[in-house]
């Protein structure tokens, strides 16, 4: 079908056609072909990591010995949940926090799961956890830690988990997730989480770097009711492929969300990070802030989008990201987007991709600090500006800094030079 020239259209538009303007994709309007980075080919990732099975080979004969073996890693003053190859093998929760564990049928998933996207994804999830926190529980000082352990019994296998969390009114909960592989071979963790945070409740959710080479895909759906808040921090470096997808729904007034993260990717790592925040109510606030360094054949995809629905007021949203390209062999794709349908809105975004500051480098070197040390100091400074501003207890912030410093010093430093 011949589209141009079209009668009654201004001449200059028809001229564009004659100049072959629309035939060049780079001049065209946004289209999926131009943003192919948003659509990671998971099959390719699975194939390259030898993931070829989608359910655990062995549900039975899971030995309690693993619990004893792993028990030394169970953190004091924490509420621990341990899932071994998809089976719940240990739980230690304080009063007011209850856990259900089962397998769900498709019909059950339909009944339990609110978010249609999570519901569709949940169809493939075999392992179901339901965590219910009663009202008026303050467990910020006693984080719940979910340990996902994979042994050699699930080598080359993708295990799908679905966690539903209901947090009662006025409760404050801190959840951490840890991914551990007890095998030298790879497996994949596919996590779907749906959370409802009721009035005046607070949910803090952190995922620190896991020292294994597996694949982690984490789809997090958060629904916030009146005066509730969600804080999340992601630290990523070691995993081969990681995909975090946050869907934040600020459903009622005075709800707030704050998501930040740091990632140091090197040596054929890939991190896909997507955050979609939807403001559905007045007086709501969202903040997103990530920092990353990417090098040595690694790839970093970051999509951050805030939606503001019509007829709401007093909205604040900020989307920020800074990245450092360590070499020309790595790829960074970042796109901040706003979709705003109200007027009383304060939104800001800032995305930068650059290299280490040459002037800062020279300044440090001029004081006798070697290239290696200067790089570590500058990279640390780049990341610590995020970690220092986390709304966590000082001891936790210091612990996170030590963890990240260890990553930089032990694993990455040799690759920088």
């Amino acid at each position: 079908m011949k589209l141009f020239p079209i009668k009654n259209l201004p001449q200059f538009i028809n001229n564009l056609y004659s100049e072959d303007y629309f035939s060049k994709p780079s001049y065209n309007f946004p289209q999926s072909e131009l943003e192919s980075w948003k659509y990671t080919n998971l099959k390719k990732i699975f194939d390259s990591n030898n993931i070829n099975s989608f359910s655990p080979k062995h549900h039975e004969n899971i030995s309690k010995e693993y619990v004893n073996l792993y028990s030394k890693y169970l953190v004091d003053k924490a509420q621990n949940i341990v899932l071994l190859d998809g089976m719940l093998i240990y739980e230690n929760l304080l009063a007011g926090v209850k856990l259900e564990n089962s397998s769900m049928s498709v019909n059950q998933i339909k009944r339990h799961v609110y978010n249609p996207l999570v519901r569709i994804n949940g169809m493939f999830n075999e392992i179901f956890l339901k965590l219910v926190v009663d009202a008026n529980m303050d467990h910020l000082d006693n984080p719940i830690i979910i340990h996902y352990l994979h042994t050699d019994k699930v080598d080359s296998t993708l295990l799908s988990y679905f966690t539903k969390i209901d947090i009662g009114r006025n409760s404050r909960i801190f959840l951490k997730e840890k991914f551990v592989s007890l095998s030298s071979k790879k497996s994949a963790f596919n996590i779907k989480m749906e959370t409802f945070i009721k009035d005046n409740a607070n949910f803090t959710y952190d995922v620190l770097d896991s020292p294994c080479k597996s694949i982690v895909m984490n789809h997090i759906s958060i629904n916030l009711l009146k005066n509730s808040s969600f804080n999340s921090f992601v630290m990523q470096s070691s995993l081969n492929f990681t995909r975090y997808e946050y869907h934040i729904n600020l459903l009622e007034k005075n709800s707030k969300s704050n998501i930040s993260g740091v990632s140091f990717l090197h040596g054929s790592k890939q991190l896909d990070l997507y955050v979609f925040v939807s403001h559905y109510a007045s007086h709501t606030e969202s903040r997103v802030n990530f920092r990353s360094t990417v090098g040595y054949k690694s790839k970093y995809n970051l999509g951050i989008k805030a939606y503001v629905s019509p007829k709401i007021k007093n909205i604040y949203s900020s989307l920020h990201s800074k990245s450092i390209h360590l070499d020309n062999l790595s790829i960074i794709n970042i796109k901040p987007e706003f979709d705003i349908h109200s007027e009383d809105v304060v939104c800001n975004h800032g995305v930068t991709i650059g290299s280490l500051d040459e002037n800062a480098f020279f300044y440090l070197a001029s004081r006798g600090i070697s290239n290696k040390e200067a790089q570590v100091l500058l990279v640390e400074a780049f990341f610590f500006s995020i970690i220092n501003n986390l709304k966590r207890e000082d001891a936790i912030v210091e612990k996170y800094k030590v963890i990240f410093e260890t990553i930089l010093n032990k694993e990455i430093l040799s690759l920088i030079l």
């Binding site: 440090l364 070197a365 001029s366 006798g368 100091l377 780049f382 500006s385």
Partner: protein
């Protein structure tokens, strides 16, 4: 000879900035370089410090060792200190961490034992007191949120802590009020000894009232066009750089 600069030519993107600088500094000597804006003073400082933006020819020798091809950190470890005209801010790297790392590098290079925390804090506090710097500034990022005067005092603090053999101060007096000038001068005088050389780059006589130079050089359009004693600085202050025209003749 502590510092020996021979026929130093420096250009950037094809433009000649320094056109054959010759300068010798012996241990214990204080030299001052004065000159109008754009004469090449900061370029000279940066090149001695090892900044890589320039094309260079000629030689710079420190204690008879050619340093022109050394990395900035190597020059510093050998004893070169450059106090910058506009010290940059490095948020996230605390002053304390920065000073300790720099001092540890220096001690390691000299084959000395690293200072333990107590020794380091004692040394730091002594110099903070000398330069009247609030201790709380040390937990901030390097020069982060510092006023112009505080940045210059921080440069002098780093100089004293690192104990170099050659101090190059690029317009350390610019932007200082009377009190800050007095404190910075006190710090510079504190560094004066028979083994250490100093090169003070300035527009004005006022710093030289506090730190008396043995030699004054006039840099104009990339060349040292005249050298003399401290009286030359007084003449320049009195007559301005219009005196250069006479000197050139």
């Amino acid at each position: 000879m502590l510092l020996e600069i021979k026929d130093l030519h420096v250009s950037i993107e094809g433009k000649n900035i320094l056109k054959g600088i010759n300068l010798n500094i012996k241990p214990g000597e204080i030299h001052a370089i004065m000159g109008p804006n754009g004469s090449g003073k900061t370029t000279l400082t940066n090149v001695i410090g090892g900044k890589k933006d320039y094309d260079t020819a000629g030689s710079i020798r420190l204690n008879d060792q050619d340093i022109l091809n050394l990395e900035p950190s190597e020059r510093s470890l050998l004893g070169v200190f450059v106090g910058f005209q506009n010290p940059i801010e490095i948020p996230g790297v605390s002053n304390m961490q920065f000073l300790k790392t720099a001092l540890d590098s220096k001690n390691k290079f000299l084959g000395k034992k690293a200072l333990n925390s107590s020794e380091f804090f004692k040394k730091l506090q002594k110099n903070l007191d000398l330069l009247e710097i609030d201790k709380s500034r040390m937990s901030r990022g390097v020069n982060e949120g510092f006023s112009g005067g505080e940045k210059k005092r921080n440069e002098v603090l780093q100089m004293i802590m690192l104990d170099p053999i050659l101090c190059i101060l690029d317009e350390t007096d610019s932007g200082l009020d009377i009190d800050a000038l007095r404190i910075v001068s006190k710090g510079i005088r504190h560094m004066k000894n028979k083994k250490r050389g100093m090169l003070i780059i300035t527009h004005y006589q006022r710093l030289l009232n506090h730190v008396e130079p043995d030699f004054v050089h006039v840099l104009s359009d990339g060349e040292i066009i005249h050298s003399g004693d401290k009286k030359l600085a007084l003449d320049l202050e009195k007559h301005g750089y219009s005196l250069l025209k006479k000197l050139k003749r």
